[in-house]
Symmetry: D2
Subunit: 346 residues, 4 copies
C-alpha cells in the first residue's frame, strides 16, 4: 500500500482527493492535513465521510509528514508548497503539488502573473508538468510533479493535437472557458455565496487570468515556438465541470479528416480521453464525477475556423483525479487504478 499524506485536505480539491484515494485499492491516507481544522474529525468537516474516515485533521508539517508517507499531495494556495519543499523532503517522498508553484518554467513569468515571490525556484527545473497524456514518460521518473490547473488541463488537451500537427495557427487561438463554482474554492467570500452565483453568468480575470501563461507554455512546446492566446474564464452556476470552447484559424487546405486524424493520433488509445462522434458536443454533465475528458470539434467553412470543445470535471481530471493518475504513474501502477469512475448522471 502506498502511504499518502494530504496537505490541504479540507478544500474542495483536497476532499476530492480523499474521495478518490479511499476507493483506491493500492493507497492509504495516513495524514489529513488542514491548518484550519487541526484536531477536528475530518468527517465533521465533510459529513459525507462519516463512518468512512475516522481520522482527525493534522497540521501542515511537511517535514514530519515526509517521514510517514510515500507521497504527499499539496492542495493548497499558491506559494505554500514552494515555501515548504526542500531536498531532504524530496529525498524521502514523492511530491505532487496541485498548486501552481512548479507549473511554469520561467520563474519571472510565475512571479509576474501570481504576484508573489517564488520561494524554491531551484526545483522548478526538476518538476515535471503532470499532464499524463502528454508527459507520461517524464512523470514516471519524477520526484516532484506540478499537477496542471483545471482550466489548463481542459484547454490544453482540447487543442494540443491540432497545434502539434500544425493544423491551426496557434496565435489565433481564443479559449472561452466556463467553470462550475467549486473551482472558486471553499473560502468564505461574499462573491461565492449561493445567491451571488446562482442565476448568473459572468466573465472574470479577462485578459489576466493566471492560467494563461501555463496554457501558452505547454501549447508553445507543441508548436515549437512561443505563442500567445486569448483566455477568458467564466463562472457558471453549477458545482462541477469545465467546458472549454476554443477557436482557431485552420491552416490552408486542412480538411475535417485531417483534424479528426490528429485527434485520433494522439488520443485514439487514451483511456480517459473520449473523442465524441461527429456532431456531438461535449457537455460537463457527461463527465461528472469521472476522470474523462470529452472532446470534439466542428469546422466552420464560412470562417475557416475550427471550434474545439472539451469538457472535464474540474475536481477530477482538473485536479484530484489527475493527481492520482500521476501517483499511479510514479509508483508503477496501472495508470487508471482507482480511477474507473463511471460519470454520475443526473
Amino acid at each position: 500500500m502506498i502511504k499518502v499524506g494530504i496537505i490541504g485536505s479540507t478544500g474542495y480539491a483536497g476532499q476530492e482527493l480523499v474521495r478518490l484515494l479511499i476507493q483506491h485499492p493500492e493507497a492509504e491516507i495516513v495524514w489529513y492535513g488542514s491548518r484550519s481544522y487541526i484536531d477536528k474529525p475530518y468527517a465533521d468537516v465533510f459529513q459525507n465521510m462519516f463512518r468512512i474516515v475516522d481520522d482527525v485533521c493534522m497540521d501542515d508539517n511537511m517535514e514530519a509528514l515526509a517521514n510517514e508517507v510515500d507521497v504527499i499531495f499539496t492542495a493548497t494556495p499558491q506559494g505554500l508548497c514552494a515555501s515548504l519543499v526542500n531536498e531532504e523532503i524530496l529525498s524521502k517522498v514523492k511530491l505532487i503539488d496541485l498548486s501552481a508553484d512548479f507549473r511554469i518554467k520561467d520563474v519571472g513569468v510565475y512571479e509576474k502573473w501570481y504576484g508573489i515571490e517564488h520561494k524554491s525556484p531551484s526545483y522548478i527545473e526538476e518538476a515535471v508538468y503532470g499532464l499524463c497524456e502528454i508527459n507520461r514518460e517524464d512523470i514516471r521518473g519524477a520526484r516532484l510533479i506540478a499537477n496542471p490547473g483545471c482550466y489548463t488541463t481542459c484547454s490544453i488537451l482540447t487543442i494540443y493535437p491540432l497545434v502539434k500537427e500544425g493544423l491551426i495557427d496557434p496565435n489565433t487561438i481564443i479559449i472561452d472557458a466556463k467553470s462550475g463554482t467549486s473551482g472558486a474554492g471553499r473560502g468564505a467570500k461574499t462573491a461565492n455565496l449561493y445567491c451571488e452565483v446562482n442565476e448568473n453568468i459572468k466573465a472574470y480575470g479577462v485578459a489576466s487570468h493566471r492560467h494563461t501563461p501555463e496554457i501558452e507554455e505547454q501549447l508553445g512546446y507543441a508548436a515549437g515556438y512561443p505563442i500567445v492566446v486569448s483566455f477568458t474564464p467564466h463562472l457558471v452556476p453549477m458545482n462541477r465541470g469545465i467546458l472549454a470552447t476554443a477557436y482557431a484559424s485552420l491552416k490552408e487546405n486542412v480538411t475535417d479528416a485531417d483534424v479528426r486524424a490528429a485527434y485520433e493520433k494522439y488520443y485514439g488509445s487514451e483511456k480517459f480521453i473520449r473523442i465524441l462522434k461527429p456532431g456531438v458536443c461535449p457537455e460537463t454533465r457527461w463527465v461528472e464525477g469521472s476522470n474523462y475528458v470529452d472532446i470534439n470539434y466542428k469546422i466552420d467553412p464560412r470562417t475557416n475556423r475550427v471550434i474545439m470543445m472539451g469538457a472535464i470535471d474540474n475536481l477530477v481530471k482538473g485536479a484530484a483525479g489527475q493527481a492520482v493518475q500521476n501517483m499511479n504513474l510514479i509508483f508503477g501502477l496501472e495508470e487508471s487504478t482507482g480511477l474507473d469512475l463511471v460519470p454520475m448522471f443526473p
Copy 2:
C-alpha cells in the same frame, strides 16, 4: 457472474442501475431494455456511458429475456411488470420490480390509490417487500421482490425503530418529505422543464400521494395494528436526494436516551444506515451518489414531539442501490457488493 436484464433502462432509475451494475464485480448486464429507444446505442441516450457501454437498446420482451438472464430488474411505470410476469418467468429468473406493482398486499388498496387494475394479483402474496434492513431474511429466499418506493424507503427507515419500540403514537405521524427532481422521471412534461422547477418549491399530491398506503402498511406491521399517517411530498430544485422530516408525539416518559437506544438497536450494525451525532441534521448532499441513509432526531420538550429526519439519494437507496442490495441478498453475495460508493460532494 450474474447475468442481468433491465426493462426500462433509459429512465433515471434504470440508468442508475446501469451505473451501479457496470461497477459491480459479480454482475454483467446483457439486456438494456427500452421500448422508446429500440436499436439505438445505449450510450447515445446517456452520453456518460460512451465507450463504457457498447450495447444497443432492446425491447421489453420479458419471456425472451427470462431465457438469457439470472435476474430481471423492471424500472418501468406501474402496471407493466404486473402485466408481464407469469409462472414460467418466475421459474427461470429472479425478478426485482422497481415499480409499485407488488408493494401493497391489499390489491384493493393498490387499485384505489393507483387507479388501475392489477393484472397479476396472484403474485402479490409471494412478493417480498425489499426493504433490506427490515426484511433481510425473507429477501434471501424470494423469487419476486417489490423494491420499495423512494419516499417510502426514506420515510419508513427514519421512523421504524420508534414505532417498533412503541416510543411514539403512530397515528400522530406526519411526514413532510422533499425530493429532488429526478424523482419525477424523464418524461417530457412541461411541469418538469428546467424553468418550471428551478427557483421554486411546491407541495404536490397533498393527502393523496401513492406512497402513503405503502408507508402505512409497513409501519403498521411495526406497530402491530393498522395506522394512518399524513404524508406530503414536495419538489425541490435539485437533481437528487430525498429528505424526510417526520413528526410524532412521544409516549409518556420517553427520554432522549430511549430514542437513541431504539435507533441503535435496529441500525447500530447496519452498514448503510448512519445515525448521526446528536445535533447534526441529515442533509441530502452528504449521501449523494451513495447507498447511505443518514438519520437523526431531535426531541422538543415544549411540544413533547420528536422530529425525525432522514436523507437518502432517491436514485440509489431509493431505487437502484436498494435493488442491487436486494440482488446481492438473493444471490448470496455480500450485501454491500458493488455498493461501497463514497458520497460525492460537492
Copy 3:
C-alpha cells in the same frame, strides 16, 4: 415625498427595500446606511443599481439620520435597533425595524431565544407588530413598527383564520417551512457558499428556531390563550421564496366549507392575499418579486387533519414589501402604493 433613511441597506433585505422604494411614487431615499461600505458608491456594491442610484453609503448614525428623514428602516441584525432607539429619535421620525428587536412582547422570551440582552425594553410595549392584514388599525398610529419575520409572516397568515375561528386545535399545529437562501443573509459564511447550498436540502434550527416564539405569540392572540407549535425551517437551493406547509387537527365536524369560509372571511378582500382555487397548491415561483401571499389548504379526511400551505417572497412580503406596506399605512397612503408588483416568472 416621504424622506427615507435605511440603516443596513447593503444586506439582501436592505437592497430589496431600495428596489421597492426607488419605484415608490411617494418616497425618496436620502440615506443609504451601511457600516461595511461607508463612502462607497451604493451601485458599486449592487451593480444592478448602476445609473439608478448615485448615492454613496453612509454610516449608522441614527441620531443624525432622524433629523433628515421622515422614516427610518433598520434592516440590521438583532440588537442594533434596540441599542440605537431613544425618545428623541421616536419624537422625530417613524421607525420600522426589520429585525426581531420589538416583535416579542415578553422581553424574557426575547432574551432567551435570541441569547442577547434587550437594550430598550421600555419601547417593546409601544411597538406595533406590523402584520398589516391583521394589525392594520394599530399600525396607522404607530411610531415604532416591529416588522414581522419572513417565516413568521408566511406561517401566521397561512394559519391565522383557522385559529381565529376555532376550527383547529392550535396545540396540534406543526409548521414545516422551506426558505430560499437569501433568507440566510449576505454574510460571508462557508455554510452559505454556492457549492454548500446547491444540490442540497436540510433542516436547521430544529425545535430551536427564533421565529417559533413569534409565531406562538401571534397565533396565541388569535386563539385567546397561549399555545405551543412545532416549527422546522429548511434551506432550499433557490434565491427567494418561503413555503410553509402547516398541519393541524380539525375540531369535530369542521367541513371543507367551514375552512374556506374562514379564509374568505379574513382575506376575501385583502389585496395581497390570494386564496387559490381548490386543488391548487401555492408555489413560491408564482409570488416571486411581489408582495403576494398565496394560500390554500387540503383536508385529509383519513387523518382529520387540514394541511395549510402558504407561499411568499421572503424579501418582499417577508421583509421589504411588508415594511413598505407598513410605511404606507403610517403615512396615510393607499396601502398598496409602490407595491403593485407583478410576480416575475420564470
Copy 4:
C-alpha cells in the same frame, strides 16, 4: 389606451409581454392568444397572474384580432407570422413580430438557415429591424417590426460601435454567447427537463445557429460591407439572461480611449445601455427583470484583441421589453414608458 393583442401569449416571451404590458400605463391587453390553451383562463396557465389577469385564452385568428386592437405582438415559432400577415391586416394594425420571419432581408438566407419556405416575402422589404438604439427613426414610422432575436440583440449591441467606427476587423469577430434556459422555450422536450439542464453547460448549434446571419447582416450594415462571424451559443443552468463574450482584433494603433469613446458616442445618452466602469464585467444577474444592456470591454495588448462583453435579460431586452420599446416608438410615447424596471437581485 393602446389596445393590444398577443398571439402566442403562453410561451415564456409571451408571458413576459403580459407582465410588462399590464404594468404599462398606456396599453391594455384585450386578446391573450394561445392555440394550446383556448378557453382556458390565462391565470390557470401562469398562476402568477391569478387575480391580476381574468381573461381566457383565445385562438390565433389574426384577421379577427386586427379589428379589435391597435397592435399585435406575435410571440410564436418562425413561420406563423409570415403565414398570417396580409395587406388588410397591416392596413388596420401595427404588427410587432417576435419571431425571425422578417428579420433577414435576403429571403434565400432566411430559407436556408431556417429550413422553411417564407410565406410572405413581399413584406420583408417593408419590415423594420426593431433594434431601437440603432434603428430608432425607421421604427417610428413602421407598420411591421421584426423584433430582434435575443442572442442577436446582445451580440450586435455589444459590438456595434467598434464596427461602426472601424476600430476592429469585423471578419475576426468571434462571439461566444451563453443563455439561460428560458431561451429554449416552454415546449415539453426531454432536453430541457430540469435534470438535463441543471449542473451542466454545453455548446449547441455550433457553426450553424440561426442567429448567425442576423448578426452578420446588421453588423455588415455597420461595417459597410458583408462580413462573416463565428457565433457559438451555450446553454446555462439559469432561468434568464444572456452574456455575450466577443473577441476581435483591433485595427492598428487603436487605443483604449478610442474604444471607450466609440461606446460613449453611440450609447452615452441611451437610457437602456449602461457602459460599465473600467474593469467591471457585465453579469446577467445585474440586469435581470429589466430592459438594460450592460456592456464593457477589455483590451489585451498581448494579443491586440479587444474582448467585448454584454449582458441582457433575454426575455426583456432580448424579447418582450424590446417589443414594448418598439411599440412605444411607433405610438409616439416616451420610449421607456412601462420599462422603468429596476433589475431584481438576488
